[in-house]
């Protein structure tokens, strides 16, 4: 068997002309030589004509063509004439197809050092930019809502109804599970501490106030942010990818009125209802725990009904409406501003959930501080 390792040889016996002879099998896994070896030789010899010859090559594939293409590009850059006339016809033709179009020069601007992403001015301007974008979006939504109030908006009732169903009844199962468990957690948390003071019965007050003011609204909102907010972002992001949003705009319809308003209104209507439902189940969950600790249901509900006050309920409902708006804004904004690829839609959904949860926590804290100050 002859030597089949892929190698190249250079012959510069003729002045100005360099003969490059390739031999062996240039195939995948055969360990083809690196173009850099040839590159240094070419630079050192600086010929005016480079003639390429095949010597005894039985098998060759793309790796040989890739090598030849690099040769050809180098020759073109350094004004060397490349003579390929002694190559097999297939290789010649492939090379001529590959070199038919000049390589594209990528603009330089996109490359910058990663440290520059820590530049405070850049960070500040990025934050300001995203805040401005959010404000602009909220502004557009406000305009659309005003139009809706006057009755001039292109918002369809059918859409609103469908989204109500998606965000309301469809969410019952998960909301039920979460709120019963949260009620039980609150119950255990309080019961252990209160028992030490012989005040076990006050677990009912703790569960009722905790659920009505805080956990009912917050847990519902977290579930809805993951469930509905992400769904909105994915729906709108896919519509952006499919150019559906462009179609809506060119029909002369504002995508905010047509797509965002029904989704937002559906959440605003359904979230308080879901919150009330979650409150009831949370208090029931507390009752289960209290029962386990020797408090009879009658005692528990007696104590609980004394703890229910109208302002606890009102605070919970105000929160739920605020949360609904925030979830819808976060979801729809990420969706509408999404890029046009599958990765971008995924990114939009992630961004929707992350921003929604940040908004929720900040808004919750703000409302709690406000209530504290107002003594409500």
């Amino acid at each position: 068997m002859s030597n089949t390792a892929p190698v190249f040889q250079l012959d510069n016996s003729q002045s100005g002309t360099l003969v490059l002879t390739l031999s062996g099998n240039w195939e995948q896994g055969a360990g083809a030589p690196d173009f850099n070896e040839l590159h240094t030789n070419l630079n050192a010899l600086s010929p005016t004509v480079l003639t390429v010859k095949f010597d005894n090559i039985e098998h060759w594939d793309s790796i040989l063509m890739a090598f030849l293409l690099q040769c050809s590009n180098h020759c073109q850059d350094n004004d060397i004439d490349l003579d390929t006339s002694s190559l097999p016809e297939g290789a010649q033709r492939l090379l001529s197809v590959a070199t038919a179009v000049r390589p594209h020069q990528q603009p330089e601007s996109s490359s910058y050092h990663w440290l520059s992403s820590l530049d405070p001015i850049r960070m500040l301007s990025a934050t300001l930019g995203s805040v401005r974008e959010s404000l602009a979006f909220i502004g557009e939504v406000a305009i659309a809502l005003t139009k809706l109030a006057v009755g001039k908006a292109n918002t369809r009732y059918v859409d609103f109804r469908a989204f109500c169903y998606q965000s309301g009844p469809d969410a019952f199962a998960i909301i039920s599970l979460i709120s019963i468990l949260v009620g039980m957690i609150l119950g255990y948390l309080g019961a252990v501490q209160l028992e030490q003071f012989g005040a076990g019965i006050y677990v009912a007050d703790l569960v009722v106030i905790g659920t009505l003011r805080e956990m009912g609204a917050l847990m519902t909102a977290v579930v809805m942010a993951g469930r509905t907010g992400a769904a909105y972002a994915a729906q709108l992001g896919t519509m952006q990818t499919n150019e559906e949003i462009d179609a809506i705009v060119t029909l002369g319809v504002s995508p905010i009125e047509f797509l965002v308003v029904p989704r937002m209104l559906a959440l605003v209507v359904m979230m308080p209802l879901l919150t009330i439902y979650a409150d009831v189940l949370g208090i029931l969950g507390g009752a289960l725990v209290a029962g386990g600790l020797g408090i009879t249901p009658l005692q528990y509900f007696n104590q609980a009904s004394a703890a229910v006050e109208i302002n606890h309920i009102v605070v919970g409902l105000i929160k739920s409406v605020a949360f609904a708006v925030l979830i819808a804004v976060a979801g729809c904004r990420s969706g509408i501003n999404s890029g046009r690829s599958s990765a971008a839609v995924g990114q939009a959904a992630t961004e929707a959930v992350v921003t929604a949860i940040i908004y929720l926590i900040i808004a919750d804290a703000a409302i709690n501080i406000l209530c504290q100050q107002l003594d409500y």
């Binding site: 790796i63 890739a66 293409l69 197809v97 990765a343």
Partner: protein, 258 residues
């Protein structure tokens, strides 16, 4: 000397969704080096036939034989091995939008070959240069035009030096100049790498320009009614539907070339 079996042979193929038969009794052979076109009106099952040939849908009856080996009856390992010898471009490109063009082409190479990373980079540069996209390695599919996406998809299809190239509507949505260039590219690549090409298309200019063999699927009789070189069929077929299909736009072709 025994003649080697044709790269693709379709035998008694029946395609159906449940009880609804789309096409029955398809029998044809695709020879080595053919540019084979699957023609037919809308809804006749062209794309379904292609999907069955690609093994994305299992035929209701019949067999598809690649180089003498049945694809339908092969186990999944053998099917994988047969698939590695194919290059496929889909109607809308089918490029992975989360990856750059270089990563798209690199994927089959990473999965199925033992090239070193440096060799891979060189091969990617070469494949992109072949389709006229040299220097576009770091672009995402969404950042280049539709015609460039089609060409990039072609670069991915030829990454593994396939024996058979499948195209689903290669020139759909391209302007006449780009689709002409794409046709020429397909012919040049086919001739230099020696592949067999199978395509679904109803672009008559490109059918007459590059196809060497074809099959016509009829929607009303639910079977193939013509087989052969499309230029031949245009002039000599006894099927009025096929002549109608081929000549209606043949008038358009002469206008265009004039």
């Amino acid at each position: 000397m025994i003649e080697s079996p044709p790269p693709i042979e379709v035998r008694n193929l029946t395609m159906a969704y449940g009880d609804f038969v789309i096409q029955r009794d398809l029998n044809f052979v695709i020879n080595q080096g053919d540019i084979f076109v699957i023609m037919g009106g809308s809804g006749c099952g062209k794309s379904t036939l292609l999907k069955q040939m690609l093994g994305l849908i299992t035929p209701a009856e019949g067999d598809i034989i690649y180089s003498g080996q049945s694809f339908v009856h092969a186990d999944s390992n053998e099917q994988e091995n047969m698939r590695k010898r194919w290059g496929i471009t889909y109607q809308s490109g089918g490029l992975f939008s989360a990856m750059t063009l270089a990563e798209n082409i690199s994927l089959p190479l990473q999965l199925y070959t033992r090239f070193t990373p440096k060799e891979r980079t060189e091969i990617i540069a070469y494949k992109l240069a072949l389709v006229g996209l040299a220097g576009y390695e770091d672009y995402y599919p969404s950042e280049v035009s539709g015609g460039m996406q089609k060409r990039a998809a072609l670069a991915r299809a030829i990454a593994m030096d396939p024996d058979i190239l499948f195209f689903d509507e290669p020139s759909a949505g391209l302007d006449p100049i780009s689709s002409r260039l794409l046709d020429e590219l397909i012919v040049q690549l086919k001739e230099s790498i020696g592949a067999t090409v199978v395509m679904v298309t109803h672009e008559l200019p490109s059918i007459f320009a590059i196809a060497t063999n074809s099959v016509y699927l009829d929607a009303s009789t639910r079977t193939m009614i013509a087989y052969g070189d499309p230029r031949d069929l245009r002039d000599h077929t006894d099927q009025p539907v096929v002549r109608q299909f081929l000549t209606r736009s043949s008038a358009a072709t002469t206008e265009e070339t004039a």
